[in-house]
C-alpha cells in the first residue's frame, strides 16, 4: 500500500471495513452526462451485512462497480469521492494493487449466474483460477482447493461437479459456483452480491440466501447486498441504505428501517411488498405511482419530488441535508414521515 493512499480518519477506529465519502460517478453518453451516483456516503463495518436497496437504475450496481473499480471508463467517470477499504483509498491505488484486492479481499457475485461463468472452461478450473492468481498455487493444487469450496457451498459430489461445464448446471448450482469463486479469497473481507437471487426461482432464492448467511458467519466477511427485494433485505441485512436516482435517501439498521421509515420513498418501497399490511387481501398490489426520473435531466431538487405524496415547494428547489432519527438512522427529506406514520 502506498503512503498517499492511506488516509487517517477517525472512522478506521470504529471497525469500519468500507467507507464511501461523497462518491459521484457519471457516464458521458451521446445524449449527455448521466449522473449515476451523486454524493454518496456509505459505511460497512467488519462482518456486517449492508443491503443497498432501490429500483433499477438508481445507481446500486454502479456503486458496486466503483468499489471494485470495474466501472467501464470511458464512458464512466468517477467525479469525486473517496472509497476507503481498511483505511486505504481504493480510488488512488495503482491498478496492479487494486487487482490484487479484487477476488482476494473484495469479491463480487453477479445477478445472472447463467452468463457470469465462462462457457468453455469447467467450473472447477474457473474457481481454481482465483487460487492461481492470488496464491500462486499450481493448477492441480488449485483445482483441489476448488473442489473443497464446492463442498463448502453444498454442491453434491463436488469432485465430479468441478469437472462440469456451466451449461451442465442449473441456475441455483451456478450461483453456488459463483459464491464459491467469491469465497476463494485467502482473506475474506467484503463480498459484494449484486442481486444474487433475482434470476433464480423463489425456493432456490431462499437456499442461496441461507447459504450466504451461513458462510458470512462462518468466514467472518462483510456483505454488501444489492437488491430491490425488501423480503431479501429483512432476511439477510443488518443495515439498509435506500437509494433513489443516484442519491442515498435513507440509511438505518434493518429493524429500525422497517419499524420506523422516515423517507416517503422507503415507505413506498415497503408498501410494495406482498406481505405489507396494505396488500393483505388486496386485489392489486400497492405501487409507487410515476416512474424514475431521467438521470440526464435531473435538477438540484429532490429527485423523488415528482412521485412523492409529501411534496413541498422546497423539494423542487434543493436536495435536503442529512437529518438523523435516533442512533445510526439518517435520512434526507424536507418533509419526512413522522414516527406515527403520518406526515408532518
Amino acid at each position: 500500500m502506498t503512503d498517499t493512499a492511506t488516509i487517517e480518519t477517525s472512522a478506521t477506529g470504529t471497525g469500519e471495513l468500507l467507507g464511501i465519502d461523497n462518491l459521484s460517478v457519471s457516464f458521458h453518453t451521446r445524449r449527455g452526462v448521466v449522473k449515476a451516483v451523486r454524493n454518496l456516503n456509505l459505511k460497512i463495518r467488519e462482518g456486517e451485512t449492508l443491503a443497498l436497496v432501490g429500483e433499477s437504475g438508481c445507481g446500486k450496481s454502479v456503486t458496486a462497480h466503483a468499489i471494485t473499480r470495474l466501472v467501464p471508463m470511458p464512458p464512466g467517470v468517477i467525479e469525486s469521492g473517496i472509497i476507503r477499504f481498511r483505511g486505504t483509498n481504493l480510488l488512488s491505488l495503482p491498478e496492479k494493487e487494486m487487482r490484487s484486492l479484487r477476488g482476494s479481499k473484495i469479491s463480487m457475485i453477479f445477478q445472472e449466474p447463467m452468463t457470469s461463468l465462462n462457457p468453455v472452461f469447467t467450473v472447477g478450473t474457473q474457481i481454481a483460477e482465483v487460487f492461481v492468481t492470488h496464491e500462486k498455487l499450481g493448477r492441480k493444487e488449485a483445482f483441489a482447493r476448488a473442489v473443497e469450496l464446492l463442498d463448502l457451498v453444498k454442491i453434491p459430489d463436488p469432485a465430479k461437479r468441478a469437472k462440469s461445464y456451466p451449461h451442465q448446471l442449473s441456475g441455483g448450482m451456478r450461483q453456488r459456483v459463483m459464491i464459491a469463486m467469491a469465497l476463494a479469497s485467502p482473506e475474506p473481507g467484503l463480498m459484494i452480491a449484486d442481486e444474487p437471487t433475482t434470476a433464480l426461482d423463489v425456493t432456490i432464492q431462499a437456499q442461496i440466501l441461507q447459504l450466504l448467511n451461513e458462510l458470512k458467519k462462518g468466514v467472518g466477511m462483510a456483505l454488501l447486498l444489492i437488491t430491490h427485494d425488501m423480503g431479501v433485505v429483512a432476511e439477510t441485512a443488518d443495515r439498509v441504505a435506500v437509494m433513489y436516482a443516484g442519491r442515498k435517501v435513507e440509511d438505518a439498521p434493518v429493524e429500525e428501517l422497517f419499524a420506523n421509515p422516515r423517507h416517503p420513498y422507503t415507505v413506498g418501497l415497503l408498501g410494495c411488498q406482498c406481505s405489507a399490511p396494505s396488500n393483505r387481501n388486496a386485489v392489486r398490489l400497492t405501487s409507487i405511482s410515476g416512474s424514475v426520473p431521467d438521470l440526464l435531466t435531473l435538477g438540484d431538487g429532490c429527485p423523488f419530488a415528482n412521485r412523492c405524496g409529501n411534496v413541498k415547494n422546497e423539494c423542487m428547489e434543493s436536495f435536503p441535508d442529512v437529518s438523523t432519527a435516533g442512533e445510526d438512522h439518517e435520512f434526507r427529506c424536507h418533509n419526512p414521515i413522522t414516527e406515527s406514520g403520518a406526515s408532518s
Binding site: F110, T115, N118
Partner: protein
C-alpha cells in the same frame, strides 16, 4: 467424442455423393460436344463416333453417371486426354504443392489476422483499430492477381530480393522426398549440412503466401475483432476481472477462447477456398499445384481432367470442413456433449 466423430463421418457419405453427382452433371450438361472440341472442326463423323465410344459418351446419361460413380468409388478418375496419364497420379503429384501453399497462407493469415483483430478490439476506436480495419477493407477488396503482380514487380523485379515463380531454384538439382519442399529442405539440411534447399523453398513461398493470404487475413482480422468485442462485453469477462485475473490473461485466456469459435469456422472455410481458389495465384507464380493444372486442363479442353480436379478439390473441402467441426467441438464443450 468417438460417437460424435462417427456421426460426422457418416454424414460425409451423402455429402460426397452429392458432390460427385453435381460435378458429373455440371460437366456432362455443359454446352458443347467434348469429342468435337477435342478433335477440332475438321474431324469426320467416324472419328467423332470412335472418340465418343472411347469416352463412353454414346451411352445414355444415366448409364454414364452410374459408370462414373462406380469408377469414382473405386478411386479411378480416368485418364487425362492430353497426357494419357492417370488423373489420380497427376493430381497427387500436384496436390502437395497446393497444400503446402495453402497451409503457409492459412498460417500467415490466421496468426496475423487474430493478433490484429484482438489488438483492434482491445484498442477500439483508436488509431490501431482504424488502421487495422482500413487495411482489412483494402485487403478484402484487392484482386489477388493484381496483388500478385504488384508483389512480383516490387520484390522480384524491382528489389531483386525474391524469385518470381516456381518452388525451388532449378540449379539446386533437387529430387523431392515428401513433396513438401519446406520439409524436404529441412531433411536435406540434415543430410547435406547446408540450408540452401530450405532457404530457396522458403524464398519461393513468401510472395505466393502473401498474395494468397491477404484476403483471408483481412477476413480473419475483421471476424476476430467483432467476435472479441462481443465477448469482452460478456458477464463472464466481468467475473474474471472481478476475481482479480490480470487483464492480459482475461483477454488471451478467458475471452479469446470464446472469441475464436466463429474465427475457426472462417479459417476452415478460407483454407478450403485456398485449396480450390489458388488457380490465378498458382498460374502467376508458376506454382506447380492443382490450380495451375486445372487452368491448363481447361485451356486444353481436357474434360476428364477438369472433372477429376474439381472432384478432388471438393473432396478436400468437405474433409477440411469435417476437421474444422471436430476442432470446434474440442474448443466448445457445449457442442461436444449434446
Amino acid at each position: 467424442m468417438l460417437k460424435f466423430i462417427l456421426k460426422r463421418l457418416g454424414l460425409l457419405i451423402p455429402t460426397l455423393l452429392g458432390v460427385v453427382t453435381l460435378v458429373f452433371f455440371m460437366i456432362a450438361l455443359a454446352p458443347g460436344d467434348p469429342a468435337r472440341i477435342m478433335l477440332g472442326e475438321r474431324a469426320n463423323a467416324e472419328q467423332l463416333a470412335q472418340l465418343r465410344s472411347e469416352l463412353g459418351l454414346d451411352q445414355p446419361l444415366s448409364k454414364q453417371y452410374l459408370l462414373y460413380l462406380g469408377r469414382v468409388i473405386r478411386g479411378d478418375l480416368g485418364k487425362s486426354i492430353v497426357t494419357q496419364q492417370k488423373i489420380t497420379d497427376e493430381l497427387t503429384d500436384r496436390l502437395l504443392a497446393t497444400i503446402e501453399l495453402a497451409i503457409t497462407s492459412t498460417i500467415f493469415a490466421s496468426i496475423l489476422g487474430i493478433v490484429l483483430g484482438v489488438a483492434a478490439a482491445r484498442k477500439r476506436n483508436s488509431w490501431v483499430d482504424y488502421s487495422t480495419m482500413t487495411g482489412a477493407l483494402v485487403g478484402v477488396s484487392m484482386p489477388v492477381f493484381w496483388l500478385a503482380l504488384v508483389l512480383i514487380m516490387i520484390f522480384s523485379v524491382g528489389l531483386d530480393l525474391l524469385p518470381t515463380g516456381g518452388r525451388m531454384n532449378v540449379r539446386l538439382y533437387f529430387i523431392p522426398i515428401t513433396n513438401f519442399y519446406l520439409i524436404d529442405g529441412i531433411i536435406m539440411w540434415f543430410r547435406e549440412g547446408k540450408a540452401d534447399y530450405f532457404v530457396s523453398a522458403l524464398k519461393h513461398l513468401i510472395l505466393p503466401t502473401i498474395a494468397l493470404g491477404t484476403i483471408p487475413l483481412a477476413i480473419i482480422a475483421r471476424t476476430t475483432r467483432s467476435s472479441m468485442l462481443e465477448v469482452l462485453k460478456q458477464d463472464y469477462v466481468k467475473t474474471a476481472r472481478a476475481a482479480g485475473v490480470p487483464e492480459r490473461k482475461v483477454v488471451f485466456r478467458y475471452a479469446l477462447r470464446n472469441a475464436l469459435l466463429p474465427v475457426i469456422t472462417v479459417i476452415g472455410i478460407q483454407f478450403g477456398l485456398l485449396l480450390s481458389g489458388a488457380i490465378l495465384t498458382e498460374t502467376i507464380f508458376a506454382w506447380p499445384g492443382i490450380g495451375k493444372w486445372i487452368y491448363h486442363s481447361i485451356s486444353a479442353r481436357d474434360f476428364p481432367a477438369v472433372q477429376g480436379g474439381i472432384l478432388f478439390i471438393s473432396f478436400f473441402f468437405v474433409m477440411i470442413n469435417l476437421i474444422v467441426d471436430l476442432l470446434y467441438s474440442v474448443i466448445n464443450p457445449r457442442i461436444r456433449l449434446k
